[in-house]
């Protein structure tokens, strides 16, 4: 399998503070890769650097071998990377359907758009059921489903998810992970940032544990029970 996304010795600084240091991650086509770690570990910053939301200080980010450095977010989106941002960031005053259709802006080709909308609505039935409602009145879990659906209609090669289960009731977290499993079956490559360490390790093909801006561990689903190692890496300085 070829590497779809490659981060090589990535470094991001906020002023004097190094938020991400020497991070090298490879994501192959069809893989689900997890990125876990405590708050402030640099997980979201890594995703923001990929999307061009924050400038990188060193290292490289390549999609299918070509660099993404210096590209604005809209260009990165149109190259085939979709981010489901932390906190959903749906447009509360727009309808569910309008939110969904905004995702089409990231498509490289218009053809097949309606079929993809149908497919996404099948995956998340609430997106069809509530399509005329203002998105702001949906529950947190429904908004999360809408945010993922919106990213999927862009037909991305790579889906980045930033803590999709944050603030959701356990039952809704199950819904989100089931959706991710379905997305995997459909062949979409995923880089999943999560706080739910064990569940992510068990779910992803490979999971990186990040702390203080650096990768501390690489875990496989077999390591999901090894909480001691994870806890030690979480709190290592």
């Amino acid at each position: 399998m070829t590497a779809l996304l490659e981060l090589d010795e990535l470094e991001v600084r906020y002023g004097a503070v190094a938020a991400v240091r020497d991070v090298s991650i490879g994501v192959k086509e069809g893989e689900i890769v997890g990125l876990i770690g405590p708050n402030g570990a640099g997980k979201s910053t890594t995703l923001h650097a990929i999307m061009g939301l924050v400038p990188t200080k060193g290292g490289s980010i390549r999609l299918r071998g070509s660099t993404l450095a210096g590209k604005p977010p809209e260009s990165v989106a149109r190259l085939g990377i979709a981010l489901v941002p932390e906190g959903r960031r749906i447009f509360p005053q727009l309808t569910v359907d309008e939110n969904l259709r905004l995702g089409l802006a990231g498509r490289r080709s218009r053809s097949g758009a309606e079929e993809d909308i149908d497919a996404v609505q099948e995956l998340f039935p609430i997106v069809r059921e509530f399509r005329r409602r203002q998105a702001g009145v949906l529950s947190g879990g429904q908004q999360q489903q809408l945010a993922i659906a919106r990213a999927l209609v862009a037909k991305p090669d790579l889906l980045l998810l930033d803590e999709p289960s944050l603030g959701l009731a356990p039952k809704i977290v199950d819904v989100v992970f089931e959706a991710l499993a379905e997305i995997r079956r459909r062949g979409v490559t995923v880089l999943l940032v999560e706080q739910r360490a064990q569940r992510t390790v068990a779910f992803a093909d490979r999971t990186y544990l990040m702390s203080n801006g650096e990768i501390r561990l690489t875990l496989t689903p077999d390591d999901a029970g090894d909480t001691d190692r994870m806890v030690a890496a979480y709190f290592a300085s």
Binding site: P73, R89, Q93, L94, L102, L104
Partner: protein, 306 residues
Amino acid sequence: MTVIGAVDAQNLVDALGLGAIYGLMAVGIGLVFGVLRLVNFAYGQLIMAGAFTLAYASRAGWSTWQAILACFGVVIALSLVMEVTVFRPLRTRSPAVMLVATFAVSFLLQSIALLVVLKVQGQVGIPASTVAQLAQAVTIGGVDVRKVTIVALVVAIVALSGLALLLGKTTVGLQMRAAATDFTTARLLGVSANRVITLAVLLAGVIAAAVAVLLTASQSYVTSDFALHDMIIVLVGVVVGGIDRLWTATLGGFAIGFTRGVINGALPTDKSVYLPSALFALVILVLILRPAGLFAGGRSSVVDRV
């Protein structure tokens, strides 16, 4: 009684015309504010540039339509130059920096206009006679209505309906509404910042050109401070209406124009110096009673900004 009634109706019709023009200016300001979070203080000077174009076209003996076409061309071109040379490089800076930059552009354009007119004409202004025919009145139901009032109302209705269709029914309109709420997320979805902002600036430019024609019809002597006072009053109206949303800003512009027209008509000619005092006293009252804006809804944060 009939005479007083006719005078009142006359007054209201004139006030409606001014309200329509100010409402249009408010749309122009609100559109750019929606996507850039920037109050473009130089918007008045775009109108001034359009008025000078009409004035120079009059001097050159161009026909009315040629003059109007030139006015649109100059104002739209100037809007786009402003976007590329000022707004775009400063887009990521703080709102204060952008605001000060638009002040600078505003004064620069006024100074250029003053220098050119003084140097070339040896006087402070030029008459724009080409659209003066719009100031002529027609009598409708015993009320003298200036043609410009009718044109202003028609232009305002057509422009607002067109804008509502564009924002509500087209993909780029949807993208503009999204960008006005959360530009970063819109860009993450693939919405082009340049495309959306350029379109907003372009639409605002088209409206500025239309306003230049309408204002020139009633104030045909064009000077470097043309539209400056109108711009300040519209800005106040926009804030009073609620700048956070395009429709409340537009209503604010219309309301302050209409109120100005009514007060102007109600004050005896020798008391017209009190017009600004009366207007701004009302503004202060509104801001005290409804600080979020005259037309702002309840506390709901779920509002459409554009």
